[in-house]
Structure formats: C-alpha cells, structure tokens
Subunit: 152 residues, 2 copies
DNA sequence: ACAAACCCTGAAGTCACTACAGGGTCAACC
DNA sequence: GGTTGACCCTGTAGTGACTTCAGGGTTTGT
C-alpha cells in the first residue's frame, strides 16, 4: 500500500509517517522504481499502530524506541517493558500533582478578583503585582512546569 | 541596575531576560553609552516579576501580553483580566482530566503485565500490539496530548 | 485533455526557553 | 601594571514532536 493508505489505516497524518521514518521509528519501506513512491506491507502498519498507541499514552520517542527494542529482542522476561511503562506512569502521576497545585493557585487568584471593580482594585492584579515581601507564599517563582498546559 | 542584578532579584536566568526583551514582553532598557550594557530601573523589575509570576502559573506569552495590555489600559472594569485567568484555569482543568484518563490506561496496562513472563506472553505487549478490532476501547488513537508530560 | 488528488524532498515554523561560540568589559588583588 | 575571574554583548542553533510551506512530479477519474 502507498503512504496515504497506511496513514488512513493508522489514523495518522501522512507527514507524521514520513517523520517517523526520519526518526528511525519506522523501517524504510520499499520504493517504486518508477516514481519513487513508498510501498508498505502489513508489518509496517502493525509497527505504526504500535507507535501511535504509545503516543496516545503520551510516551516519548525514546520510550517507544525502548519498547520496540525490547520487543525485537523477545526476551524470556518482560521486566524491561514493564519498567518503561511504570516509569512513564510515574511521570504522568507527578504531572497530575503539579497541575492540581496549579489549579488551586488559579482558583484562589480568580476568587480574589471581585469582578466589576476597576483594574486598580482587582484582586488578581494585586496578587500578581504584589511586592516581594510575601513572595513564595502564593506564587512560588522557582517552580518548573515541564509539560506545559497549552498547545493544540 | 545591570542585567545580572535584575535577573537575581527576579530569580530568573539572564538569558531569559534578554529573551523576554526580544519577545516584546519587557520594555527596552537604557543602554550605557560606553559599553552598551543594559540599565534597568524598578519599573522593569516590577514588570519582570509580574511576568515570572504569570509563567509560574504556566500562562503563555500571549496570555501574559493580554494581561499586561489590560493593565496598561487600566479599565474601570477588570472583567478582561478575570476572563484571561479563568480561561487559563479551564485549560489546566482540561489537562488534568486528560492526564487522569491517561493514568488509568497506564495502570490497566501495567496490571496486565504479569511480570516475569516472556515478552511474547506479556499483557502489555498484547495490548499494544493487539489487532484493530478492539481499537478505541482501551487506547483511543485519535486523542491529543497538547501539553506533554515530559521534559525537564 | 484536464483537474483533483496524490506523491516527493527539504526547509522553516511552533513554544519558551537553553546553550553555545566568540567576542568585549570590569573589579579586585598581587 | 598585569592577570584572573566574573560579568556583559550579539547571534545562532538546539530542544520534541510534529506541522506547514514551497516547489515540484505522478496518478486517477471524467
């Protein structure tokens, strides 16, 4: 099958398939000797679906590479695979904790607004522009937000 | 004060200050006519602290620009400011829901491992390589994970 | 015969930084 | 006065996982 058909079956943009190839996640497909089009078989589709399922679980390409390697070694003990998944689960749980803290701070901020007042009296503005004495209590300035909340 | 002092007072890397300037978040400072060093006053520091507090709440530069604009307009109604904060809170809450779903999927995956078995019998591998019939039930392939869990 | 839909490559853009490379300047001490 | 180390400057490239674009060629359907 050609790249469009593969992409459709994996519910994945064509450009992403080419990107995975460049990243070394997908094996190089055969090329049509006339027009240089890529031609895939079912093993490519299976591998792509595997990758997309892992991405749907928000794993990085490095984590996926680890899983694919463990798979291809076909060990008698699947501990390595379990380790990768569990470490990833740990990342996710940490991130949830960070975001819950963030949610709390934003709720507090919003509660302080007292909407309808002039900007100069808005509680949000007061908190965000407040002098440095009370620093670190409401909004600690040194925290990292590794994942980011945004982007779509 | 010079850039190093400003950065120290805002607990922020010097490179980031220069980056905020390039992004148009910080006003251009005066320059020493001899050595071209940047020279800041307390209004720059206040603005930088404001930006850093917003970033600690994981707002984007666009959101921060919106807040700074609303501030400079000094409206008689702070509704715009409240809107920006609440929309951001909504982003965070959505992301938390996504990650909780993710956590559940990964826990299920890990539970299925049955560690110690050969890779070919590992429950994780079975789920991730399973045929497409049961697709969308355990791991929907079309979901986005805007923020990402990783990076530090 | 022609248009729409597909395929190709390679480069640049996204976001909020971070990390160089390759310089110039300043303050303190010997 | 020389030197060491901390500071400052500009500009470019790298991060991750794509997405978008420019500028082509090919296939398919009517």
């Amino acid at each position: 099958m050609k790249i469009g058909e593969l992409a459709r079956q994996a519910n994945c943009p064509v450009e992403t398939v080419r990107y995975y190839e460049k990243e070394g996640l997908l094996h190089l497909p055969l090329r049509d000797s006339v027009n240089n089009y890529r031609h895939y078989d079912s093993s490519h589709l299976e591998r792509l679906l595997f990758i997309r399922r892992c991405r749907a679980l928000d794993m990085t390409h490095d984590e996926i590479r680890g899983l694919l390697q463990a798979l291809s070694r076909n060990d008698e003990d699947c501990r390595q695979i379990d380790d990768i998944v569990n470490e990833h689960l740990h990342h996710v749980q940490q991130r949830i904790q960070e975001l819950l803290a963030l949610e709390h701070q934003l709720k507090t901020l919003s509660d302080h607004c007292g909407s309808g007042r002039p900007v100069s009296e808005c509680g949000i503005v007061h908190t965000l522009t407040r002098p440095r004495e009370s620093e670190e209590t409401l909004i600690p300035l040194n925290q990292e937000h590794p994942g980011g909340v945004h982007r779509h």
